[in-house]
């Protein structure tokens, strides 16, 4: 068990800076997910933690020990790869015990560790097979077994679920979560899938262009995204962005730009308007689930409810909810409806906006206000 501390970490390949001043404090026993679009540097960061790449500048500590110059095998880590990286010529058993053989662990101890892990992952009946004789899910289990058998200080996962089909992915996600709950080991998990990040993480580090954009609990990342990139990346369907301005006079409100003649005022909680300052140009961020058919009964429950009239252009039923593309000004905006309250194409619906859950971003810096 160990914490992980990363200070001012930089990594360049030639003249290309892949990681720029990364700082992360991972507490002992935390499950931290590094999430971001491809090319954001998350896998490179993991490779640096594992010691598979060399650090250009900065410091990585596992526990109290600086590991910058420590080879991977001496870092007390275990890693699960996207491709599983099972040794194709060895049996499952050989795959799991290879690390112990490399470290000259006594045979008796190896057998015990193998039995423990095989029982834990329920792969006893697969031990004699070659990786090519296993299904995707079984390979995944063996790859995890190889990591578990080490009993390391730190678990590293590099997009372990992206090679599985959708159904299996959800199952294995739950298994990984169960595993983590039973073992409570410090885990660093890389993914580009924001749902995986939300479901698994105790904290999420959202990465973009070689920097950490936000490092916080999933709820915070989702409700209070640090900037427009995080807001747009986390959540599906993605958050709607509408250019607007803080009202100069009258009750606290934000006025939408581009509303074709009509002025749409949406009420703001007092504190937010004051913090932003009257007249400031902002971007209003509304998640689709907070934008739905207006219901007059809400007026009492929700104090900061705004309404917008919008024509419906596309309707996409998903089963659990119906997603509709509506037009507000010149912008296409996504709203969510109860399936039985779904509009039809061509309708003009009155949408209710829960402004208490809306986010305001500075129009220039794109940072959360």
């Amino acid at each position: 068990m160990a914490s992980l501390t990363i200070r001012n970490l930089n990594k360049s390949f030639g003249s290309v800076a892949v990681l720029k001043g990364i700082n992360l404090e991972v507490k002992d026993g935390e499950f931290v997910v590094l999430v971001g679009p491809s090319g954001c540097g998350k896998s490179t960061l993991l490779a640096l933690i594992a010691g598979l790449e060399t650090v250009s500048a900065g410091e990585i500590r596992i526990g109290e020990r600086v590991v910058n110059g420590v080879p991977p095998k001496d870092r007390d880590i275990a890693m699960v790869f996207q491709s599983y990286a099972l040794y194709p010529t060895m049996t499952v058993q050989g795959n799991i015990t290879f690390g112990m053989e490399s470290r000259r662990v006594p045979k008796k101890q190896q057998a015990e560790a193998l039995a423990r892990v095989a029982g834990f992952l329920q792969i006893q009946n697969l031990l004699g097979r070659k990786p090519s004789q296993l299904s995707g899910g079984q390979r995944q289990r063996v790859a995890m077994g190889r990591a578990l058998v080490r009993d390391p200080a730190l678990f590293l996962f590099d997009e372990p679920l992206s090679n599985l089909d959708a159904k299996l992915r959800v199952e294995m996600r739950t298994e990984i979560k169960k595993l983590y709950q039973r073992l409570g080991k410090t885990t660093i998990y890389v993914t580009h899938d924001q749902v995986e990040a939300m479901t698994l993480a105790s904290r999420i580090a959202v990465m973009h262009q070689g920097t950490v954009q936000q490092f916080a609990e999933p709820r915070t990342v989702y409700d209070r995204p640090a900037n427009m990139f995080v807001a747009g990346f986390m959540g599906s369907p993605a958050m709607n962005f509408l250019p607007a301005q803080i009202a100069v006079s009258g009750p606290a409100a934000v006025v939408l730009a581009e509303s074709e003649g009509q002025t749409t005022r949406l009420p703001l909680p007092d504190g937010v308007a004051t913090r932003a300052g009257g007249g400031r140009r902002v971007v209003l961020g509304i998640r689709p689930e907070n934008l739905t058919r207006y219901d007059s009964r809400w007026a009492e429950e929700r104090r900061h409810l705004g309404t917008i009239q919008a024509p419906v252009e596309v309707v996409e039923p998903t089963g659990a909810e119906t997603i509709a593309v509506v037009r507000i000004g010149s912008r296409e905006v996504i709203a969510c409806f109860e399936p039985n309250a779904a509009p039809s194409v061509g309708d003009t619906v009155t949408l209710g906006v829960d402004m208490a859950k809306a986010c305001l971003f500075d129009a220039e810096t794109e940072m959360l206000i």
Binding site: K73, I77, S83, Y87, T89, F98, G99, R146
Partner: protein, 297 residues
């Protein structure tokens, strides 16, 4: 193999057209096969024919006599270059040259390929490019440098000298083959093994080598055949009893005998051609498979 029936361009249109098309194709293919087989067949037949048979019926003829005598003479009795032990000593010279040269050049090529694909360093791609340049370098260009090197090492006119030459000359090929095969081994395997605590050699022995048989078979067949059949270096850098069989064959036919011993010469040529032929017969399908086989999944 694709399980859809292959499209047969000869199997379409009218009956007559189909028959004609088949006929033309088979006649052409048959002619080509004949063209390649006839010389071999002539030599095989001649290796069993007696001298009077040759003088009566000419060089190319069906056998009017039959004897294994010429094979045994060629192997162990005929006089070549002053000694009368047949081509046997030269055959074993070739074996003594080809076996170590093939093993060493394949082993080093495999190791080179491993380093150049899995342990890249600054300039390793350039180095690989330079090494493959050797593939396109004609042997005549390096004759003088080799003469000097062999002289300096005291290996002139020795089998060891030829082994050294073939090891070095073969490295371009073996490295190219192995490197291009190993590039397809996923890097994640190497990374996983590094985290598992395996080092450079352990990864090579336990992960890379067990995946290598297809390409090693290709490399061995290639090296064996080329080194066995090689003539230029063998001719220039060996003489007398140290000659490999390819050179000895010349001495055999250019011997002092007034009469050409066609039967013995044919048997000797066939003996010399046998090892690569056998290697190909037994390893040929692995050769084709190894060359076409894709990455290890």
């Amino acid at each position: 193999m694709p399980d859809v029936a292959a499209y047969d361009p000869l199997g379409v249109a009218g009956t007559w057209r189909r028959r004609w098309a088949k006929l033309v194709v088979y006649v052409l293919v048959g002619l080509f096969a004949l063209y390649y087989v006839v010389p071999l067949a002539v030599v095989i037949v001649n290796s069993f024919r007696s001298l009077p048979d040759f003088s009566r019926n000419g060089l190319i003829s069906l056998p009017h006599s039959f004897s294994f005598e010429y094979w045994s003479q060629a192997w162990s009795k005929f006089c070549v270059g002053g000694t009368c032990k047949g081509i046997q000593p030269f055959f074993f010279n070739s074996v003594a040259m080809v076996v170590p040269a093939t093993i060493i050049s394949t082993a080093i090529g495999s190791l080179n390929g491993y380093v150049l694909s899995k342990w890249r360093f600054p300039g390793s791609e350039t180095l690989f490019g330079l090494m493959t340049l050797g593939v396109f370098m004609p042997g005549q260009m390096v004759l003088l440098p080799w003469a000097r090197v062999l002289g300096l090492l005291g290996l002139t006119n020795t089998i060891a000298g030829l082994v050294l030459i073939h090891c070095v000359q073969g490295l371009s090929f073996t490295t190219l083959f192995c490197r291009n095969y190993y590039v397809n081994i996923p890097d994640d395997l190497i990374k996983a093994a590094r985290i598992d605590g395996a080092g450079f050699w352990r990864i090579f022995r336990k992960i890379v080598l067990p995946l290598s048989p297809p390409i090693l078979i290709v490399t061995v067949i290639w090296q064996f055949t080329n080194i066995w059949n090689e003539f230029l270096f063998a001719f220039i850098f060996s003489s007398g009893t140290n000659q490999p069989i390819t050179v000895a064959l010349i001495a055999l036919s250019a011997g002092s005998q007034a009469v050409h011993q066609y039967g013995i010469e044919s048997a000797a040529v066939l003996t010399a051609a046998l090892p690569p032929l056998l290697v190909y017969l037994f390893g040929g399908r692995y050769f084709v498979r190894g060359l076409t086989q894709g990455a290890i999944k």
